[in-house]
Amino acid sequence: MNAPLLDIRDLSVSFDTYQGRARVLEKASLTVNQGEIMGLVGESGCGKSVLSRSVLRIIPTPPGSIDGGQILFEGRDLLRLPQGEMRRLRGERISMIFQEPMNSLNPVFTVGNQMREVVRAHRSASRAEATDACLEMLDAVRLPEPRSVLRAFPHELSGGMRQRVMIAMALICNPALLLADEPTTALDVTVQGQILAILAELAGRQGLSILFVTHDMGVVAQLCHRVAVMYAGQVVEIADVGSIFARPAHPYTQGLIASIPGRVSSGELYAIPGSVPSPIEPPPGCRFRPRCPHAKGGGCSDVAPEMVRVAPDHSVACHLFTSGGLP
């Protein structure tokens, strides 16, 4: 297989807070291949958004700082790129869409005004050419009457329409990678379905890779090819989407799958006991140990587990699978 399009290696990010240094990402690694939709799941605060934002280097520094690791995109380390080159990559090779379609457009300009701006910022195009490109893209995200959408102010569009405009804007320069940070969380289920279908179609047609951040396992099952599961700032399991649902290896992933409504028919909904540990003083050893049903003394509480391969496309960081079992 070719080298992955995006290769995040041992990325560590921390934020300064009044209570101390919060280590939000701790040696997180994952890859996204050409034309692949990679899901990134985990509960709130586990570092999914920070991970995706680090790729474009839009973490506010200070208080944040990227403490280590590499983010290789098309073979270049984004963390070592000069500001100017980083800016050229943004929007052109890597784009991003956010959770809040309500506020992602500037309320004082028309949609067309803002979309044309993106086109003309990245290539020399006349006003008419830019308009044509916008219309074509709005059509691709299946917005009816693209001409009147261009003339509309953001408040005149619904949430779903706005998110489609955002997708159109993000993809208008034909990027290789789209970072989608919970793009459907704020939308209702039918609209969510339409947006996912559009993303899947565009990914298939344009060879676009997507890093799809979500906490919705249903969305993952519907859209993604592979999944990375994050817990407390670490990637704990990576597998193709079939394996994750059929044979989840990490106890946390097992808990996540078990707590999807409707999967187990018996009575009460399963919830993983306990809550996410503080990123300021994470528990030593395995970060999931305090909530883990399989936790044992010794190894689990002393040594942080390394990623091990349990199947050809399935890795997990858990002492249940480390060579030789627990000490």
């Binding site: 839009i58 200070p62 052109e92 506020n103 500037n106 004082v108 910022a121 102010f153 993000a170």
Partner: protein
């Protein structure tokens, strides 16, 4: 969606404004002042600077609507031409102060941190003096002339705009569309120009309307003590100053320019207040 989108918004604003009684009142006063100022050469019955020593200090009457001053000049004509001067002073001051202040504030708020701290402390220094006193000191230091009075007045108004716009910029820079713009490859200058400033415009316009009255007042005050417009320029503040000596016997000399200042300032204040309500997006629709 027939008309251009910006025209549509403008129409809506005017429609809402026309339903607001105080906006209409303020607007009428301002419009009247503007008409008088623009039409001064046509409306004025006499030359505002022509001396006519035979008609000194005549009471208001048929020949001279507002009477004459100690050099026989027609006060009505002088007040009309004074409207030109006062309004253009006000507009100039607000434009200079507003543009500079907004740029300073947007830069300060957008970057935050040390830059913000340094700029805002500088603004605090200016704010720590009463604006009239500081304008007076500046105008005196630069020498008495109308241009210097305008610059001095504009300078003391800069912090008001800077602080207001900075506050808004602090909010706007956190909004997702700024992040969206950054991930689309926009630089700092572009974001300030295209995203921060336009979103602070509403409050800046309101502040501009509200402070226009103040600006006229400060400029008139500077002229009153001789640091602004120089004779024979028919400036309202300067006219009051020279009319002061005659206030006991010839009340009309200082009263009419005073009334015009009063109406103009009140007009702009009322209109500014109404504009603040109208431009508030929460009650807009």
């Amino acid at each position: 969606m027939a008309a251009h989108p910006f025209l549509r918004e403008l129409q809506l604003t005017l429609k809402i404004l026309s339903r607001n009684p105080s906006a209409v009142m303020g607007g009428v006063v301002i419009a009247a002042m503007v008409l008088l100022a623009v039409g001064a050469p046509l409306l004025a019955p006499h030359d505002p600077v022509k001396l006519s020593l035979g008609e000194r200090l005549m009471a208001p009457g048929a020949a001279h609507l507002f009477g004459t001053d100690e050099l026989g000049r027609d006060i009505f004509s002088r007040v009309l031409f004074g409207a030109r001067i006062s309004l253009s002073i006000g507009l100039l001051v607000i434009t200079v102060a507003g543009v500079t202040g907004a740029l300073i504030g947007a830069t300060s708020g957008y970057f935050g941190g040390k830059i913000d701290n340094v700029i805002m402390r500088l603004m605090d220094v200016i704010l720590s003096f009463p604006s009239l006193i500081l304008a007076l000191a500046l105008a005196a230091a630069m020498g008495p002339s109308l241009v210097n009075a305008i610059l001095a007045t504009a300078f003391v108004m800069i912090p008001k705009f800077a602080r207001l716009v900075r506050g808004e910029a602090l909010v706007v820079r956190e909004l997702p569309f700024v992040a969206a713009s950054r991930v689309a490859g926009a630089g700092h200058g572009f974001i300030i120009r295209r995203h921060i400033l336009p979103n602070c415009l509403n409050s800046a316009i309101v502040l501009a309307t509200l402070t226009l009255g103040d600006a006229i007042l400060i400029a008139a005050s500077l002229s009153f003590i001789g640091l602004g417009a120089q004779p024979p320029t028919p400036e309202w503040g300067a006219m009051i100053a020279s009319g002061r000596k005659f206030l006991m016997d010839q009340w009309w000399y200082a009263t009419f320019p005073g009334l015009f200042i009063l109406f103009t300032v009140i007009g702009f204040n009322i209109f500014g207040d109404a504009l603040r309500d109208v431009l508030d997006p929460r009650i807009r629709r």
